[in-house]
Amino acid sequence: MVTDDVRALSEALAADPSSVVFVQLGEALRRRGQVELAHRVAARGLERHPQRPDAHDLVARIAIDRGDFARARAEWETVLTLAPGHPGAQKGLGFLCFQQGELDEAARYLGAALAAAPGDASLAAALDTVRAATSDAWRAPSGRASAIGGAPAGTALAAPAAPAPPFAPEPADARTLFADVLGDATRTALLLDRDGYVMAGQHVGADGRDAGADIGAQLSGVSDEADRAMRHLGLGRWRQIVFEAEAASVAMAPGGDGVLLVTAPRAVPLGFVRRLLERSLERAHRWLERGT
């Protein structure tokens, strides 16, 4: 039985075959499980509107449902060509790469998607799972290697068939130590020694200059102050400091002999900034344990 929305959309498309309503109609049909019909609608619409990113995105999702992964990948890559940073395409390619065992690529795409939608818990969980598959240092929140939450409808992505690649070595350049953890160039992490000097990470400003040394020096004083306060307040040792400024949120934690510092644009929720701090701290501890 045809529902009202599908009927209305079908009528609109019939009245004007060049209408972009085909995108909504195709999605509605896909969600109802009418994959082949959705495919025909999407394919015809794409012929008329080859430059629309949402049309290619729709075709990609339908291709996943039909098991045509190569087509799905090609379509999402086209989406990113037409609309760089398209979150649906990044998410889709992330899931696709995960299924095909390309874990580093999966982490890259999902990290970028999460950066655009930091509040998306399913994306965060997906990224956790990818990282868990990549390294034994990361634990998936559920503790199981199973389907990633939030996968495109109709997709059942399980643990990759190919064995997980061995742990990827840390980057030779310590400045990029946290790049994949942070997932977005607007977020920064700096590992400072006890004197406030930068050991790893960077803070690249709008002018392209790495201001990490200055930022680190300024903010390391906060941890000194915290150390003093903790000696006299009976609260034990401090574990984290977070504070919100107009242009950025800052999170800090003791790391090695010094402190780890994470900054993120103010739009990033404070809880997510803390999560970035925790992940960066794990990365920093691993790096330090390796004797770097």
Partner: protein
């Protein structure tokens, strides 16, 4: 007779896990008004938290991040939160089980009173 901050302090101390709250001068670290449970060393918390908040505020400004609003320190046996305006800092001392998100919202609203 309660000060202008009495309502704010009364409201904050009611949150589960909050053991003390104070309005403190940021420059001198001296308590302006407070509501403290027995055993909380308000003088020490006031002086050291105001100093810590001031350091964070200055560091953030020097780093180009602008003015600082909410500040939280999480320690092994409790937390301290601070939010400041007009040379006054609202300080909240809490145990580990506090709903800090709720406290943060209320502290940010209370900044209007500090204005």
């Amino acid at each position: 007779m309660t000060s202008a901050f009495g309502t704010v302090l009364t409201s904050l101390i009611r949150h589960r896990g909050v053991t003390g709250c104070m309005v403190v001068g940021e420059q001198d670290g001296i308590i302006v008004d407070s509501s403290l449970q027995i055993g909380v060393n308000g003088t020490a918390f006031a002086a050291l938290t105001a100093s810590l908040y001031r350091r964070a505020r200055r560091s953030a400004a020097a780093a180009g991040f602008g003015e600082t609003g909410f500040f939280e320190l999480d320690a092994e046996h409790g937390r301290v939160c601070a939010a400041g305006r007009n040379d006054l800092v609202l300080v909240v001392v809490a145990g580990e089980r506090v709903n800090v998100g709720l406290v943060r919202v209320e502290m940010l609203k209370a900044l209007e009173v500090l204005s």
